[in-house]
């Protein structure tokens, strides 16, 4: 699966100066999120102001990489043809331990995933770039 993912010809992120720290950290195998200096809440995806209080003092921090599966879908007919060689594959909504929800790829594991499963960050090469994807947390 992971070899197949590395060889995909699929669109990568459309990085902007504001989001560049997120993708740089992702490329290094990490997961960065923002935290608001005014209300203290974690923010994802990266923004210019906090969507909760509109404070503009957002600081980058390393996320724990722990999350919970809020929902998932095993995609059999991908919306982008570049993903066909990887199908079926599973995408999920990951509720990060810090609070925000991100969409990500869920790697195949020892059993099919269920809503509510504990997940852990599993940086993986997709189409030649390392992205923050997740897998079942065997320790949970």
């Amino acid at each position: 699966m992971t070899d197949a993912l590395a060889g995909l010809e699929v669109p990568g992120p459309t990085v902007t100066p504001l989001t560049e720290p997120f993708w740089a950290e992702a490329g290094a195998g990490g997961l960065s999120i923002q935290r608001c200096g005014s209300c203290g809440r974690a923010v994802f995806y990266p923004r210019a102001i906090c969507p909760h209080c509109w404070g503009d003092a957002l600081r980058w921090e390393a996320a724990s990489g722990q999350g919970r599966l809020k929902s998932f879908s095993t995609v059999r007919k991908p919306g982008h043809p570049g993903w066909l060689p990887a199908a079926p594959y599973t995408v999920g909504l990951v509720e990060l331990a810090e609070g925000p929800v991100m969409l990500s790829l869920i790697l195949p594991g020892p059993r099919p995933v269920r809503v509510g499963d504990a997940l852990v960050l599993a940086p993986t090469d997709i189409g030649g770039r390392v992205l923050p994807v997740f897998r079942l947390d065997a320790t949970a």
């Binding site: 459309t14 919306g79 982008h80 991100m102 997709i126 994807v133």
Partner: protein, 383 residues
């Protein structure tokens, strides 16, 4: 909202899978002409224009481009960009503009051409940056995620959702214009259709088609002179919350809940009072959530509602009597307006072969993005 502006004309193009070089502007012109003929209006009587975005065609100056093509010189013009909620969103905006004295008769029009080589849209936005790189392109995955969450929360069964698609196909058998006319599907057929993005089967997803829909909203004074029975806007509600499914505050209840509550509040009616449910149905899960958000059944209870009610024109809960978009086809943004046009037909008593007896009121919903753009209308027949 009550009883002032009214819908005095509608137009609809028969959906087709391919348009072979016909432009969107041509389709807009044809369906606008139909609506004007239906309303008994000369083009010079139309002084308001609401259009949808023209993706890949006219990125800016859309109302001016359409007005010029149609020879209109509107005193109110705008783009309504609410995805599948655009059609319903146009209706209350037209009524509000008329009530504000800005215009007297508003053309609300949506149409789309459909050619083989559709260009991929050059998106540069958060959903493109943070969803697409993980293999989540297009709406199917988003609604599959909503459906999986709904199933996990309430234990609803695949056949409950499939029943919504089968009912839409059954209703389409009463609409010769529907893309699936002559092609009914049973619950078993739906469940046997290929899985596209689990748990969504192919037949739980609308088929993309080309088409066009138009309605004309006019002042009370003009409606009194209309050759067709006017259909009144009794209430409207709207709520816009998010674009990407990851940013939804709930996966099992949407912004249609407060939008419908506002619309019913303005109309002085409840969900159980209406004679027709004309509910946006891009996917089966959208109807399930809308029935629950309307309060027609408890959260997670849609399965019993669709099992225990007849959803046909002669049933106990007529739902999408034109076949819905699941049975009629989805002409892009115009798909949402099919729910408005069918409600007008029913409330005029002109739904030949599928007329709901004594139809006096209808709930129309529109939905866009990933259950993040919502408009609800309560429509009423002429007194």
């Amino acid at each position: 909202m009550k009883g002032q502006a009214a819908i005095v004309g509608v137009g609809e193009l028969k959906p087709v899978r391919r348009t072979g070089g016909v432009t969107t502007l041509e389709l807009i012109a044809r369906v606008a002409r139909e609506a004007a003929l239906d309303a008994g209006l000369e083009p010079s009587g139309i002084d308001g224009l609401l259009v949808g975005p023209q993706v890949g065609l006219t990125p800016q100056h859309v109302p001016a481009t359409v007005a010029e093509y149609l020879g209109l010189k509107p005193t109110m013009a705008n783009v309504v960009d609410l995805g599948g909620a655009s059609g319903a969103g146009m209706v209350w905006r037209a009524a509000a503009a008329i009530d504000a004295g800005m215009c007297d008769a508003v053309l609300c029009v949506l149409a789309n051409h459909r050619d083989d080589a559709a260009p991929r849209s050059p998106n540069r936005n958060p959903i493109r940056e943070f969803d697409v790189p993980f293999g989540a392109s297009g709406a199917n995955v988003s609604y599959a995620l909503l459906m999986q969450a709904h199933m996990a929360a309430y234990g609803c069964k695949a056949e409950d959702y499939a029943r919504i698609a089968a009912a839409a196909r059954a209703n389409a058998q009463r609409n010769p214009d529907a893309i699936f006319y002559g092609k009914p599907s049973s619950v078993e057929d739906v469940l046997a259709s290929p899985m596209v993005a689990e748990p969504l089967h192919l037949l739980e997803i609308v088929m993309p088609v080309a088409g066009g829909e138009a309605v004309i909203v006019a002042s009370a004074a003009r409606a009194r002179r209309s050759p067709r029975p006017p259909v009144h806007l009794l209430g409207a509600g709207e709520k816009v919350t998010h674009r990407a499914v990851s940013q939804a505050s709930s996966l099992t209840s949407g912004p249609l809940k407060p939008a419908m509550a506002r619309a019913f509040g303005q109309a002085g009616l409840g969900a159980r009072d209406v004679d027709l449910l004309s509910l946006y149905d891009c996917y089966t899960i959208m109807v399930a959530t809308t029935l629950e958000d309307a309060g027609l059944c408890p959260p997670g209870g849609f399965g019993a509602f669709v099992r225990d009610n007849g959803l046909g024109f002669d049933g106990t809960a007529p739902l999408n009597t034109h076949g819905g978009q699941l049975g009629f086809g989805q002409p892009d943004l115009a798909g949402g307006m099919t729910h408005v046009v069918e409600a007008v037909r029913q409330l005029r008593g002109e739904a030949h072969g599928r007329q709901v007896r004594n139809a006096r009121t209808a709930l129309v919903t529109g939905n866009g993005a990933t259950m993040g753009e919502a408009t609800a209308l309560v429509l009423g027949a002429a007194a």
